[in-house]
Symmetry: D2
Subunit: 364 residues, 4 copies
């Protein structure tokens, strides 16, 4: 009795000390520098994450802390509905990851999306359902029932890591056609962790599916911040308003770009204005008979790699993230504005195809 009272007191004391405190390292956030688009805010999302409640290795609030410090704006914890290797120690309770992460999300202003991963055989493969109301309903016998129930709840559903077990296991089958015709999934991961799937990329373009990228993280994410060289795979979503409904609307409308390694992957429709916001070309400093020196600034957190597609400017232009490059252009005696035609090799508008861009140098 006395012991219990004492223990309770200790518990209470410690709870007061730790309540609502985001996990260590969460107190300082490094914003990710990506521009907004005209009319849209850019929201950085990771909608594929795991915790100890399925086969992950962290307690749910850790996912909030690491996303916050790395500059993300929205996450979904998507523990496997069926695969629960820790269940002898952590009994299955599908709602708990979301509930346990909520206080930290509120305190830091992160959007926390309720989600789950429907994890059956491959094929048909694994699917994430996000913006769920209730997860337990997905714990059904039949795969398609689970998918349908997610849709009945108004979830946004996407096909995960399509090619992770090889293209043979990742092919498009009748079951996918049937789901697609029913509008039972609305997107696909074109990238998952370290992997990229050209077929998923192609199908997203052909079938007007939303492109997504997710970390699928199981272990702690050790990154303090997101840099061009070292960041998690994520989805940039262009929202009209930075709220959960605003995020869902943008996902359904397909307004996304995936940031995967040194690539930005998306529809030309979104990559084009995105590129324009990333680059600033300043008026030339020196225009001699033979050379013009131009400063080109890359204001975003991704390195940009350009290859000349026209007849003016250097053959290659590497513009490191957040820097200004001094570029020499053999531009003759012209004093008017110049147009330099390039291909942005790491802005992928289709598998293997970079974005055509024009750098406009103002006259002096």
């Amino acid at each position: 009795m006395k012991r219990n009272a004492l223990a309770s007191l200790v518990v209470l004391l410690l709870l007061v000390l730790v309540a609502f405190r985001p996990a260590s390292g969460a107190d300082v956030r490094h914003e990710i520098q990506f521009p907004n688009l005209p009319g849209y805010q850019t929201v950085k999302c990771d909608l594929h994450e795991h915790t100890v409640f399925s086969d992950g290795n962290v307690w749910p609030p850790v996912r909030v802390a690491e996303a916050w410090r790395q500059g993300l704006d929205a996450i979904a914890i998507t523990d496997h509905v069926e695969y629960q290797p820790h269940k002898d120690d952590v009994p299955t309770r599908h709602s708990r990851p979301y509930e346990l992460a909520m206080d930290a999300a509120k305190a830091s202003g992160l959007l926390l999306v309720k989600g789950a991963e429907i994890t059956r055989e491959t094929p048909p493969g694994h699917f994430n359902a996000v913006f769920l109301k209730e997860i337990t309903a997905l714990d059904t016998k039949e795969f398609l029932d689970a998918i349908q129930r997610a849709n009945d709840q108004g979830a946004f559903v996407f096909w995960n890591h399509q090619g992770w077990q090889g293209e043979e296991k990742g092919r498009w089958l009748d079951v996918h056609t049937s789901m697609f015709d029913n509008k039972w999934f609305q997107g696909m991961e074109v990238s998952n962790g370290d992997e990229y799937y050209p077929n998923a990329h192609k199908w997203c373009l052909e079938k007007n599916l939303t492109m997504l990228g997710g970390s699928d993280i199981h272990d702690p994410d050790l990154r303090q911040k997101s840099t061009s060289q070292d960041h998690r795979t994520m989805t940039l979503v262009f929202v009209k308003e930075k709220t959960l409904p605003g995020l869902k609307e943008a996902l359904l409308a397909g307004r996304t770009v995936v940031w995967w390694k040194d690539q930005l992957i998306g529809r030309k429709e979104w990559l084009e204005p995105f590129f324009q916001q990333c680059i600033q070309v300043r008026p030339p400093h020196l225009r001699l008979d033979k050379a013009t020196w131009v400063q080109i600034r890359n204001v975003c957190d991704a390195d940009i790699r350009l290859e000349r597609a026209g007849d003016m400017g250097p053959a290659k232009l590497d513009l490191p993230a957040g820097t200004t490059s001094l570029v020499e252009i053999a531009a003759g005696k012209a004093s008017g504005p110049l147009e330099l035609k390039y291909t942005a090799k790491n802005f992928l508008i289709a598998p293997g195809a970079g974005l055509p861009v024009v750098l406009r140098v103002p006259g002096r």
Copy 2:
């Protein structure tokens, strides 16, 4: 039925993929460069860590993975016996952290010590018991019973973070005298996480208690490696053999140095030979009328800060970890060997007291 069989198959497949695989980031290890002492190997230990099984935020094998990649050799997971804030989701099972971490420890060759934190009121404060045989026995009503039972199992017991709630709550009471007289605790943390306790340091010297430093980590440790500027608080233990019994013997014998921030804290008896192994003074390159140039190499992973205590050599000598410093000495025309007297300010032999050292420059 079919569904269960199917799920089991999926589970099996995934288990095969992940079995015995240390958590991500564990595959590359950065050794910590600290010298061995004549007759002893230097074992880097962290004997104070938590997991989701008490109030920590990671699954147990994560503790092995992070210790391994950071160059540690031995850890103890010491979840609170009494304080279990996650128990609604993770029912109390004291043996599980140790059991769950064991495979990863075996695969990577890390020494995993069975431990627990006896967490009652402060005062008397929290105590870690390591080298336990069985933890549940410590879940008793009375504090001293728990301590006694740990000792009955042959555990090494130490007083944690003595001053963490202020010196008033950390004072030495009759209960400590009684425990000490019974030899029921054998060491104290002089450092815990970011904190250092001068009183603990003093009492260890006076009462011949073993000095320890521990991380008391609850969240994931984000460090990829241990550097002079950024490492966890740990204990260097000088063992006769690198085994669990060898580690215990050395702890009981008090052969430790604590690495805390930019300080190495220990008895003069151990810091003195340790310093000698860290430093190499090379023969001078140039001895002119007025100056001798000497190269001093610091082969260890801790920066060393020296202040002149004699009449020769620069007033201050900062020797960064793992570098060679070029030092000018106004040594007259002498050609024989030189002795430079310094105090190693960050080799603490008592609170506020650096280690006196002599740098011997060979003759040329």
Copy 3:
């Protein structure tokens, strides 16, 4: 003959390859993030640098390249007029550093100020003259003649590293009073390289002299960019227009802040609006009965260290450069806006005196 023709050809070929090419590393610039003030642009300057033409170790265009890549906007090469230890190999020609650096400055858009260091006895000490028309005139017998001639040319003259040889040699003498009364010097370095001079700081405040900070660099500057932890000592000048005349006007008007190590040093008049531009306080995310969580963003490249001066908010607030901090405030049930009173410890408005600031948290 033939040999000379051949050599000339080789020279020509190589010149074509290197002409107007800034020295290596200059092609990528890391902008320094410091805000503009209302009505003023912030120009980052280093008006104290040396080359092989006095006792420095680099060819003049290197000074442009290193300043450009580190994000500076304006430099002056100020080789010693009298002290020319390399003159057996590099005969004295005072105009050459400026001339040799000019092409690189033009190509990169850096403002290059013509300058020199008048280097006689200490006391009275060394003085930099910048915005000179012609340097040779300063190579006079008498110290005061050199100072007067610089002023006759319309130069901005400042007393360098006042305390570098100790306060005794850096004291204010009659000669300084006489120069000051003649308005023959208009500023002082409060910082030079690694040093800071409290007396210079005090005299600038008392006598309305412009505060400056300079690198006084002799060797190559190895920094790729300027960070809070590692940047050269420089002067931030608040200009009406970013031109040489605009820079001179601002220096004469005293609109400067010195960035030295982790300190920003200046008049309260300029540090106050500067601080306001550096900090963004966002509306709170969560206001419970007991706690409000507020995000505070430091958009500048200097860490900011705050200490509480009022009764609300954490005792200390460290806001690392370029990050957002999540801060818990025990604010009761209030829902209106809050005012948190702090002292910015590293915004020095006088020796030892930090800037009083108020963080305004909007209501929700």
Copy 4:
């Protein structure tokens, strides 16, 4: 008069302060971790460097300071004999770079080799002569005279950057055959700065010429230390004794490996024992029915990339510099020693050909 005396005094004072002081940044050295070979010490050399005395941008002692801090052991300053674009400001004096760098070299114990670059038309291309006695003699009308005179002085002569202006201009001509037959050049750069020349590599193998790599540095080298990711191009020379004669003997004997970017380039004869010294395979920690866990340590400062050439072990093994990797081997129930056959892809024994290696895992 008085003015001159005063200036002399100032000069004297400053000289006392700077005499024998290596340029800034030189005071701390980061040793390069490359193993010695049985019977040989490994000396890290850069025998191709420029200063303001030809078309470089630094004062000669800077070359010593930067080499010393980066862990090099020997350098040659090899200013162009004929190409002197700074000569209006720095009159031609071929011996001065060596003389001016000597004090710093002595103080820091760096081996300073007297050298020059014979810079005529391409073809035949540029040649470095090192271990010269006197440089002016090379300032002749005819190219072959200069080469012969270098050889007459006992110099070691090598063909620089063979393919830098394209393979057409870098082809092997009669003049090269003639020089080769006369033994007038003994080596070639297989790498220069960022470039690698497969033809030079091939010819070195065929004609038994010594392989060299050099920085050809003109600007300041900004690197604080040499790392696997970021180091200058250099030559590792395996010497019997670490002296100038010892270095020359080893160069003439062809005992070199070139460190260029992520590649180590050399004869199989030297790369093979070098690899063996870089790698330590430790006894396995765990040998279950299906898996053996082995720790492989790479003690050198270059990452090592292995590809499986046999039937055991992972398909790829990346061993980062200075780390230990935990490797899973499906080794059945065997308990005896194992041999894992790999190709070290970045140990180039010929253009495009990696070194075959065997990793021997001891039995348990």
